[in-house]
Amino acid sequence: MIKRTVVFLWLLSFGGLHAQTCDEILNDKAYFSYRATAETVEAARSAAQDFLLNQITTTVKSVTELKTKEISGEVSQEYVSTGRMSSNLRLSGLRHVVCENQRRRDDDVTVVVYISLDDLEKSAREVENQVQQYLEMMEMKKLLDNDILTDAYTAYLLTFLSPMNISATFEGNKIRDARSFLEILLKQHLRDIDLSLAKPRPGGPGMEEQFSVEMNVIGSNQTDFVYEFYSSTLNSRAQLPRGKGTFHFIIQPSAPKERYRGYLSFSPLRIDPNVRDAAEANGFSKEVSIEFDFSDIIEVDFNIREQGENVIASPVLKHLSPRTFEWFSNGKLISTDQILRVPKDEIQGSVKLVVNGLTSHAKEQTVRGAPIQTVQTDKKPEITTEQEVRSVSLLGSELGKLQNFSDLQNKLRSFRQNGQATWGRQNDFVNPDQCWVIMVDGESQKLIHVLTPNQDGRKDLKTGKVFQQIDEQFNGYAQIWIDLF
């Protein structure tokens, strides 16, 4: 009953105020207004309000990025700004009126949402006052040698709540556009910072492709900031609270030093609840280039044996994805095959293996004088064919990077077009141990486990764990068995 009375009174009071019709408001230059029609008053009001806010704030949100370009060794940086619509304004005096005479159909209603230019101005001044207080606080902190960037960030976000550009005063200087001023201040911080990396650490046995590296933001002493590094190539991100953190990634390096690009961004550890929405839409990021140093962990070796009249050598590699093989004997190139198979009399003193042209990591073994082990066996060599290497290190690791089922579908289509894979249920395969197994959560469509073929267990590229068998612990997940070849 109380609720009804309140609603009734509200309508009465609104009726009392309703001196102007919808058309009059729409045509009145003293108002910003927008009209929308929907099945309910609330839906029409909401739509009209969204349109109105977007009309007021076409350029309110901007995402600014400092991009680094490298052309012919020249490094250049530029800011890229993209505008987006917003409806996070702080407006006082926003009103709406239901246009009874605007009905198009019996069940439609038209609503005009409007705000007077005076109220718009007042709203801007309210935000301006708050921004000014932040600038005064920054000024005070700066004079006391205290950090000001967190407050600058908050003040910057506050400007997005204003329907108009706001001016301010800082250090006695009149600033025409407070947002631009604060943006420059924050961009300067972005320009001044960079990332430094320790050497990557590989995971333990069975997780050799998983690396972690300690990251430090240099050029910053911000204790109130959380930085983030994101690399789309490595499909990984790291939170760096107070400028420090660990970046985890999966890779099989092909060179001692590998360079990747990523984005470094920052935001305050604590965000004022009033500007949280604006914070989600407005960020600062900078493209950075990082170099991983794998030189200490790459290992190149080979097994060598006699088989009849031939000498056979097969590479044993650790933390290195092979592209090329070069076998030398006594300084002479004798083979570029992955598996060395040459008559004994071609070997002069020693055999040297160079992988990917990396002479710094070449392996040489003396063979004359020390008898080569003679083995008569059909045992599969550790690395057999180029095709198999590619399957495991490239095609398989591509599966490991996928996040959801639709990504997997696209990837499998691509594999099929290239004749690289077939898939089905476990029973569809004669030797399912040689298959990759993907576990998909039916509800979220996420890929939960990506399990390698079974070689003393299956390694999960998602978690790094090794599973000895597919048992009840995987119940509830859809299983996709894939043979990569």
Binding site: M137, L143, D145, D147, R270
Partner: protein, 319 residues
């Protein structure tokens, strides 16, 4: 050249011989406005007058210094117990803005003379929007001051912390001024005042001999009137009182934004007595222009374990 040497010799003599040096301040962030010029002129003139008066052991000569009677009276009160001089001739300082459109100058190094002791302090000048000197305090440690301010979360907390620190500096200097009025106005009428007193508990051993016993702290409760009467007696029998605050911690009440708890270590030194203790103040900023102390608790440092130090969480607040 001879004139230059003569000037230099006279200058050195004036500084080293009598200490009656001029102190000229320069504002790092001056906009050369009339207000800023007035601040530079009056503060420099006052510091120079203090330098002269401290050496001559006289009252401050206010000639040529434009200052209100109230401010003059307060500074004279400080001067009567704690005269000081600034030995710097040129000082570069930052002019800070504080709430109410006022300004503040901090970190002005002075030597304070209390009794036979010399002590380094830093002056704080509060200045009105028109550039006139409003008040002068002995400041808190600048490093701590910066740290406490930077711990503020957002605009309101920063402002409150600024006010608390300003209040503490004023509160501390009130003892130098023997300013009973300010202290009386600062305590709420129903203020709870707790003072820890060390009592010696002696126990009789089995052989009837008294053992060393244990020192315990008995907490005695006073009301505002009793406390102010005690303070009046202390002020009258001491030529000077010097109070120092260290290790300040500021805590905002969990549910009442206007209530703050301040814990600090207080060093009290006067002509007749000295002690060190933990001081807790519960300050109410409901009226931001006139913050009130609802609780003042002092406990002797040596005999009070850290876990027994009174803090904001020990009180239920009913308003």
């Amino acid at each position: 050249m001879d004139r230059f040497i003569l000037t230099l010799v006279v200058g050195l003599f004036a500084v080293a011989g009598f200490g009656q040096n001029r102190t000229q301040i320069k504002l790092n962030n001056s906009d050369n406005s009339a207000v800023h010029q007035r601040i530079v002129r009056d503060v420099s003139a006052l510091l120079t007058a203090c330098n002269v008066a401290s050496v001559q052991n006289k009252a401050i000569d206010w000639t040529g210094i434009q200052i209100g009677n109230n401010a003059k009276s307060r500074i004279n009160d400080i001067w009567s117990t704690s005269p000081f001089r600034c030995i710097e001739t040129n000082l570069d300082v930052n002019l800070l803005r504080i709430p109410g459109g006022k300004f503040q100058l901090r970190q002005i190094p002075v030597v304070v003379i209390t009794g036979d002791a010399r002590k380094n302090e830093e002056l704080v000048f509060n200045i009105r929007p028109d550039g006139s000197i409003e008040d002068l305090y002995f400041g808190l440690d600048q490093h701590r001051y910066r740290h406490l301010l930077s711990a503020g979360e957002g605009l309101t907390d920063f402002r409150r912390r600024q006010m608390i620190l300003d209040f503490l500096e004023n509160f501390r200097t009130a003892y130098n001024r023997k300013d009973l009025n300010m202290l009386e106005m600062t305590f709420s009428e129903n203020a709870l005042i707790i003072v820890g007193r060390v009592v010696q508990e002696t126990e009789r051993g089995v052989d009837g001999m008294a053992s060393l016993g244990q020192q315990k702290v008995e907490l005695i409760r006073y009301n505002k009137q009793q406390y102010m009467e005690n303070l009046r007696r202390v002020f009258s029998r001491n030529a000077f009182i010097d109070v120092n605050f260290d290790d300040i911690e500021i805590v905002k009440h969990g549910s009442r934004d206007e209530i703050y708890g301040v814990n600090l270590r207080q060093k009290w030194r006067s002509s007749t007595y000295g002690d060190e203790g933990y001081l807790f103040l519960m300050i109410d900023f409901e009226d931001e222009e006139h913050p009130l102390i609802h609780v003042r608790a002092w406990q002797p440092e040596k005999e009070t374990p850290m876990e027994e130090v009174i803090e904001l969480g020990d009180f239920d607040i009913i308003k």
